[in-house]
Symmetry: C2
């Protein structure tokens, strides 16, 4: 196991108020935060995601000891040093393939205003409180787990952590990744959301398709190739992604695309198609679009959005997620109302 | 090697006039045809495709002996029994990854009217004449190799093998497959064409993506799931394929799609998106669309086309391809003008 340890501000660890977990399919991130939601310490592991933790477990079998062991590995020291701290988690850990299956909550919902009822997994460290995912029961339904917490974090950050009154204006939050989520907000309320398979398609096409075969990896981003992909996706959106992809081959055969540009060209086609796919949303939104995800990927989205004259702001999920989990834990009355009184949260 | 031998009409083999090869990336089909283009015998192999034949060959190395060996394996008996027969081939065998790289011909082009200049590969069996592929140098360029011959075959079949005068009407030929091609015709002329990655995307999504993981294989086609996919693709085309695919998961989570219906639902989404992608073409065409490909797949396309009120006719490429190769060979003066005089075609 590789754990990337964050900067420990040990002098302040005595103010620890909450252990927050962002526990997804492929990774686990743990944050030790103080009573006000500020991060004191953080860890992340790409070998303790839900998929790895539950690997080989038969359906219906108990998984608690495996999740407990993962908790011990990533932050056993915090839990022993602060045995009374509440623990809160978001992500696929709360799914049918995770630890405890927590029912989805329907949208519209304000993650800022709601006092969420959290799922509970009993452990030897006390209860782990699990944030429910969201469901949009539209013609084409959609679901998320974990992203609702990032959206809350993005909104809290954009609104100055509550210092600015939230207006009812339409705004958009996009979470670029394997399955990119777009949320349409009215003020702090998530009104609707939708998922694009962009990141997974990029991986499939570059790793397994005929298009990726001649591609040469390059450390430099070929922005010209990326921009060409975005431009063609903008101009020919009606033709659809499946009708545009083969151009990665035909442009190369006609000498208009180099082998080292194929990956960035495909990235441009995919992100450009996605931006076109949410046109009706950004056309009705005059606020900068909030992009919350890994910064190099957000940079690509920002660039594609500029081609349709849309401004955006990039937000680091590693900063805003622990703050959002603290907000949720506070709303669920898991945190003491002042620092001198601490409830015992052991189950 | 597995070779599927066709029905041999041995009494008529003495009338043999041409050996025709449809030599693609993954398969090789050989046809022994008579002087009038009728198939006397046929074979196919899925282990003698261009990719398998050239496997492990270093770039720039000679491949002739490997292609000769493949020829020997699939139809050495024909070539020895009829040493003077001309040999004609279409497909990826004529590409930079094949045997002889034959330059693409530009569209517009009438495969019916043109007397094509063929590439030549010299072999111990005499020259193999290779049909050039086509290139459409549009904003988004496109290429084909082998499909130009199938299109010719479909057009010859639709026009009663030349008995009906071809009008200048707009018509469409679609070749469903891994990389589905659509050709827009004016009479017998290919005016433009475009490629959809539909078949390859279906394979990638069902074999490698998170969407395919919970799917249960079924021998029965779930037409209701297929139709739902087509309908959603029709209604939400603007959202784009990458924005529709995740619904294979969310519809299952909401109980509206069964695990055994996932593959057919994805098939419906993909084929429906493709049909939407060529809307401007079929809107301008009042002839039935000619579908040339494997019959169960063509049935899916026909069904999707009916949802947009478009009629179609299914054509078997195994029947029309040898006839098209005979037409090309005749145009290139490879065949004697009557049966009693046979030129020696050895190089």
């Amino acid at each position: 196991m590789v754990i990337d340890a964050g900067i420990t501000e040990s002098d302040e660890a005595s103010n620890a108020g909450l252990v927050s977990l962002d526990w997804g399919t492929t990774s686990l991130r743990a944050y030790l935060v103080d009573d006000s939601g500020r991060t004191l310490d953080q860890r992340s592991s790409s070998t303790l995601g839900v998929m790895a933790v539950t690997a080989g477990v038969l359906p219906g079998s108990a998984t608690t000891s495996r999740f407990e062991d993962a908790l011990e590995q990533i932050c056993g020291d915090w839990l022993r040093a602060h045995p009374d701290l509440p623990i809160v988690a978001c992500g696929m850990v709360g799914s049918d393939q995770g630890w405890v299956n927590v029912d989805y909550l329907p949208v519209p919902l304000s993650m800022v205003e709601a006092k969420l009822s959290l799922g509970v997994a009993a452990t030897r460290f006390g209860p782990v409180h699990i944030v429910p995912g969201l469901m949009d029961v539209a013609t084409i339904p959609d679901v998320m787990r974990g992203e609702e917490t990032q959206i809350l974090g993005a909104i809290l950050a954009a609104d100055g952590n509550g210092r600015n009154a939230a207006s009812g204006a339409t705004r958009l939050v996009a979470l670029p990744g394997t399955h990119t989520k777009w949320a349409r907000m009215s003020g702090t309320e998530i009104v609707a959301f939708t998922t694009f398979l962009t990141g997974e398609l990029f991986a499939l096409l570059t790793e397994h398709s005929i298009l990726g075969r001649p591609a040469q990896r390059s450390d430099e981003t070929d922005w010209a190739a990326f921009d060409t992909g975005v431009r063609l996706a903008n101009q020919h959106h009606r033709k659809g992604l499946s009708g545009l992809l083969f151009s990665a081959r035909s442009l190369m055969l006609t000498g208009r695309l180099s082998a080292s540009g194929i990956h960035d060209y495909l990235s441009g086609l995919l992100i450009g198609s996605e931006v076109q796919g949410v046109q009706s949303w950004w056309e009705a939104c005059d606020q900068p679009i909030l992009l919350c995800g890994n910064p190099p990927l957000c940079q690509r989205y920002a660039r594609a959005l500029r081609t349709v004259n849309r401004a955006s702001a990039c937000i680091d999920p590693g900063v805003v997620t622990p703050r959002a989990l603290h907000h949720i834990a506070t709303g669920a009355d898991l945190l003491p109302h002042n620092c001198t009184v601490k409830a015992n949260h052991h189950g």
